[in-house]
């Protein structure tokens, strides 16, 4: 009997007040008739607990923007406006909608619902310019709606030898490289996060253990209390310039990550010599020549390439702006053309701001994605421009490890469910088969080019 992977979900209440997306204003001419209470199925309007004759202030964050109360109020005294605080949340890819969606996912563990339909942009930059194929969504009897529990989301971390050799007696001669199997194609990486406290790291670590995920963190950043227990889900990350000869791996660590440096070949050799059973990963900033670097890593038999993008999902080499969508596709293409794609695992990190970014990154060629900023947003972080724990509006320094663990479990649960939806809608049974499946997506820029490039003055004409 095998045990089916399942993320336990439980509502983990917000600690700070939510930032309402819509602010409902009840004007003075309200007659406390209570019709809005009957109208609102989300419970925005209720009578005051202190005095049932009066309506309490609207509980704005429950509002799904359906306009029913506004329509039903006989006094026309209700009006709705986008919340100013809400609108000011985040920046770029980290839009108010994405941030609040993550809050909701981390609170409830459920797939988000957007009241009066999706009214976002039709296409945009980055992953917004990429549409996934959902053609099987109407065929529930296949892998669709009824088959979610048979869809595998697991992913392997490690290198796969191109061929297996056997000796005369049938014994395998190929030495199998170490491999870590994960139930979800996601890892957690807190190395680039601000505002970390012992409790939050501890909470992330507990979540990693509970969900059988990996937590990437600087060595020694794990509080002593946690390290003993959580080591097998902990991937120590060493800064460049670390003397490999002096590395002491935490007990039970299945994997370690070195930062890319000119001496990387020697570092790798030294590491291999000391820890042959440990998966070795190199992390480096994406930029010009990223394709070649990955090919170099393959040639040196490195197990994992951990490619880092910035918060917006852009390459960090500022010379030429390229989104991970293009960057990953180039990497994937380069490896495929050399027939070495399976000889390394690609983890992509940075700019993963919504559940849909996971399958999209994978379609572009990543094997796994690293959750970074989303981990912090899940804790109700408001993505302030200046971040200081002392003046944190949601008082992150007082969050307990248990609370953090619950929030992260919910987030991962919700994202995995959304991944299952996408796979189901595509008729796929395994997320492994999604990797690099460019045919499963439409790229807006390409469609536009195809459609208009031969038109004078059209795209691609100048």
């Amino acid at each position: 009997m095998f045990e089916r992977f399942h993320v336990p979900i439980k509502v983990i209440a917000n600690r700070a007040g939510p930032v309402p997306k819509f602010v409902i204003v009840r004007a003075d001419n309200c007659v406390n008739c209570g019709k809005c209470e009957k109208a609102c199925i989300y419970g925005v309007h209720v009578r005051s607990e202190l005095d049932s004759r009066k309506m309490a202030d609207p509980i704005n964050n429950l509002c799904k923007n359906c306009f029913r109360c506004i329509h039903d109020c006989p006094q026309w005294s209700l009006s709705m406006a986008p919340g100013a605080e809400y609108k000011a949340l985040g920046k770029g890819v980290w839009s108010p909608l994405r941030i609040s969606t993550i809050w909701g996912e981390a609170e409830t563990g459920k797939i988000p619902v957007f009241g009066a339909g999706y009214r976002g942009i039709f296409a945009g930059s980055g992953y917004d310019g990429m549409w996934t194929d959902m053609s099987e969504i109407v065929r529930p009897t296949r892998d669709g709606i009824h088959g979610r529990e048979y869809i595998s989301t697991s992913a392997d971390v490690g290198r796969k030898p191109p061929v297996l050799e056997f000796d005369g007696s049938g014994k395998m001669r190929t030495e199998m490289p170490p491999l870590v199997e994960l139930p979800v194609p996601m890892v957690m990486d807190v190395t680039r996060l601000r505002a970390m406290t012992e409790a939050t790291i501890q909470g992330y670590a507990q979540a990693a253990k509970r969900l059988d995920m990996l937590l990437f963190a600087a060595t020694g950043s794990l509080p002593a209390s946690a390290s003993a227990e959580l080591t097998s889900h902990f991937v120590p990350v060493y800064p460049s310039g670390t003397d490999v000869a002096r590395i002491e791996l935490p007990q039970g660590a299945r994997m370690a990550e070195l930062s890319f440096a000119p001496s990387w070949k020697d570092d790798a050799k030294a590491f291999r010599a000391r820890f042959p059973e440990t998966v070795l990963s190199f992390r480096f900033d994406a930029g010009k020549g990223v394709e070649q670097r990955v090919l170099d890593l393959v040639r040196a038999k490195i197990d994992v390439a951990h490619i880092l993008y910035d918060e917006e999902g852009m390459e960090l080499d500022r010379g030429e702006l390229r989104h991970s969508k293009e960057s990953l596709r180039a990497v994937h293409k380069a490896m495929v053309s050399k027939s070495v794609r399976d000889q390394i695992t690609v983890i992509a990190g940075g700019g993963i701001a919504a559940a849909e970014h996971v399958p999209k990154s994978i379609i572009c060629g990543a094997d796994l994605v690293a959750l970074e900023k989303a981990l912090l947003i899940a804790l109700e972080c408001r993505d302030c421009i200046t971040c200081e724990l002392a003046s944190c509006p949601v008082n992150l320094s007082s969050a307990s490890a248990e609370w953090v663990e619950g929030r992260i479990s919910n987030l991962v649960g919700a994202w995995r469910d959304q991944l299952l939806e996408v796979l189901g809608a595509m008729g796929l049974r395994e997320v492994r088969r999604l990797r690099g499946e460019l045919g499963r997506a439409i790229f807006y820029e390409e469609v536009e080019r195809d459609a208009f490039s031969d038109i004078e003055g059209g795209v691609g004409d100048g």
Partner: protein, 665 residues
């Protein structure tokens, strides 16, 4: 207001599931008090609410006027023994038959907005509150006739008419008062200049006599004229058929100012005789504008004597423009005219400067108008009061003259002096050729100035219709009261009129005397300190405008839940009266809808006052949160409440989220 099933106004969300069936709610039962109440209850009359608890009866021991307590309580038995609220003609008849049998007087009451005491008991008895019979029975657009129950309010009727493109011919400025109440008292008001006295607009009156018989009286009947101004002496008016008018497309008020009242009058006379045919002409004295400016906090209006008029239809408007050209007078800006025109519905606002207001109301033949006003002005100067004059021009060569002044009603001595002054004023104006507008109790001394023929007809009608003297007896023809008829003697025209005249003739002496009394009293009594709550209660005009709009009243049917009821409760507490737990609990039954605040004639901050009052009551009796919640839930589920909300609690009040504002009524 009770709204019938066929509905009023549009349904806002017809598609919504019906509200859950209401559970029963009834405010805590109070034990019946008094024999009459018990006997009535034992009869099990249908469609009848019987109120006998002291706290509720207390509300019916007065009307709009603030009367010094010693006068009211020592001279009269103003507390009714029981109050009944019938909802059908049969119930009215049954109570009247019972009263005739038992020899108890029945005092009809509409919304109690008349200030002369017509609806106030003088020797106990049964007050019959007809304001619950407030349905609009039928509107016939082709015949332009509306049939309403006697307790229907003018504002509600007007609102219904509007849907048919119709409007009222005429109404009192107290549009919250009842149709029968106005027929039984004044009958002169808005549009009287063009449409005449209300009697010209009544087609039929249904009257229940004290024998319990129902009579339908029409214009041709001999009895018909006597019903107007009958002050409840003949029977109960249970329904009325009214002629109504088509609503004009254009209706525009104008305001014209003059340096003295004589020029204003000559303008008004010329206008009245012109081709313009305004619907309404009213004279306002400068003092009114001064007070309105004070209220607005700016010198927005010229403090002149002015004529305010309204014209309907384009022809009339054109004629008015021509008329103005010929006179060479400039009219005031339109917005000022519109402001003043809207203010006609709020004559009581200035009370807050007293707080309180007293005055006198007489009908003057136009030729004598100037003389009456200058006489009154002279007397006022001697008495040290600053009067406001208002004249509504009628179409029969008369004017309805209102002369009033603000006064502090919280101080008994001062109030008594002010009341005496008002009687001095009335007596002067009558001597100068005016006649009283209404008798009630307080004008009894002037009943001798009534049209002799009219009084004789009324007396005759009373003898046939109410031989046993059930209907509002003890008033009008002779005044009853306590102390072996001391009141009757004191207020008798034969004694009081000469006495008032003497006081007037020696007015410097009178004023000295009054000041002396006042001075002594001031020294004896400690200066009056008022809590904020009591100040608001004193500022309340007790006009009853807030009752018809109150959804809590619709649900509970007990006036103690209304704003007027709550403020009277506050006054009773300040006097040291004991408030029972049941009474206190009722005070909390309120939807906090602010309809009362919006319609309030005195623009009071009622909700704040309720909060203070509730706090005090809570200290004494606690707060029954469960009952309040039951009440709210019950109201929410009541279809009648729903319809009222959909229609709008305060007709004419803005229905958009701009933060309230003045209602149009």
């Amino acid at each position: 207001m009770h709204v019938d099933d066929k509905g009023v106004g549009r349904a806002i969300f017809p598609g919504t599931a019906p509200s859950p069936a209401p559970e029963v709610f009834s405010a805590k039962q109070e034990p019946l008090e008094g024999r009459i109440a018990c006997e009535l209850a034992a009869m099990g009359i249908k469609d009848l609410r019987i109120a006998s608890a002291w706290g509720e009866r207390m509300l019916f021991s007065r009307d709009q006027a603030e009367i010094p307590r010693f006068l009211k309580e020592i001279m009269f038995r103003s507390m009714p023994e029981v109050v009944v609220q019938p909802r059908s003609v049969d119930a009215v008849a049954a109570v009247l038959r019972f009263a005739a049998l038992r020899g108890v007087v029945v005092i009809p009451r509409g919304s109690g907005s008349s200030p002369f005491g017509g609806s106030v008991p003088v020797k106990g008895g049964i007050v019959m509150d007809l304001s619950d019979m407030d349905r609009i029975l039928e509107i016939d657009s082709s015949k332009k006739v509306a049939r309403v129950e006697g307790g229907a309010r003018w504002a509600d009727l007007d609102h219904e008419l509007e849907k048919h493109g119709l409007m009222l011919n005429t109404s009192p400025s107290s549009k919250f008062s009842t149709v029968a109440g106005w027929i039984a008292t004044g009958g002169m008001g808005l549009n009287s200049f063009s449409r005449g006295h209300i009697s010209a607009s009544v087609r039929e009156i249904e009257l229940v006599t004290s024998a319990g018989e129902v009579a339908r009286v029409q214009g041709s009947d001999k009895l018909f004229p006597s019903l107007f101004g009958s002050e409840g002496q003949l029977g109960i008016i249970t329904s009325v058929a009214l002629a109504v008018a088509e609503k004009p497309k254009v209706s525009k008020p104008h305001l014209v100012c003059f340096s003295d009242f004589r020029s204003a009058f000559s303008f008004a006379y010329a206008l009245a005789n012109s081709e313009v045919r305004p619907t309404h002409i009213v004279y306002e004295s400068r003092a009114k504008f001064a007070l309105i400016n004070r209220m607005l906090g700016t010198e927005r209006l010229r403090t002149d004597d002015a004529i305010l008029l309204n014209v309907e239809g384009e022809a009339s408007e054109a004629a008015f423009q021509g008329f103005m050209k010929s006179t060479g007078v400039e009219e005031e800006k339109e917005y000022l005219a519109r402001y003043m025109w809207n203010e006609r519905y709020f004559p009581m606002k200035v009370r807050k400067f007293g707080p309180g207001m007293l005055g006198s109301e007489v009908v003057v033949p136009l030729p004598k108008l100037a003389e009456v006003i200058s006489g009154a002005n002279g007397l006022c100067a001697k008495l040290g009061i600053d009067p406001l004059f208002e004249v509504h021009f009628l179409n029969d060569g008369n004017g309805l003259l209102l002369c009033y002044y603000v006064t502090d009603q919280g101080n008994t001595i001062r109030l008594t002096m002010a009341a005496l002054k008002s009687m001095l004023l009335t007596s002067l104006m009558l001597d100068l050729g005016a006649s009283p507008y209404s008798i009630g109790i307080w004008n009894h001394a002037f009943s001798g100035s009534e049209d002799k023929q009219r009084v004789a007809n009324l007396r005759q009608a009373k003898a046939t219709l109410d031989p046993n003297g059930v209907m509002n007896s003890g008033k009008y023809f002779a005044l009853s009261g306590r102390l072996w008829g001391a009141a009757g003697l004191m207020f008798s025209p034969k004694l009081m009129r000469p006495a008032l005249k003497t006081l007037r003739v020696f007015s410097p002496l009178t004023v000295r005397l009054m000041n002396m009394v006042y001075g002594i009293a001031e020294r004896r009594l400690r200066p009056k300190t008022r809590t904020e709550l009591l100040r608001i209660a004193d500022e309340c005009a007790m006009c009853g405008a807030c009752i018809g709009v109150c959804p809590a009243y619709l649900v509970v049917g007990d006036e103690r839940v209304t704003a007027r009821g709550k403020l009277l409760t506050a006054k009773a507490m300040a006097r040291g009266s004991k408030i029972t737990k049941e009474h206190a609990d009722r005070t909390f039954l309120c939807m906090r809808c602010k309809a009362c605040e919006q319609i309030c004639q005195s623009k009071l901050h009622l909700i704040d006052a309720f909060d203070v009052l509730e706090k005090e009551l809570e200290r004494m009796h606690g707060r029954d949160a469960q009952e309040i919640e039951r009440f709210v839930k019950y109201a929410e589920g009541l279809p009648e409440y729903d319809r009222l909300i959909e229609r709008g609690l305060v007709i004419g009040a803005p229905k958009h989220g701009m933060g309230g504002g003045d209602a149009d009524v």
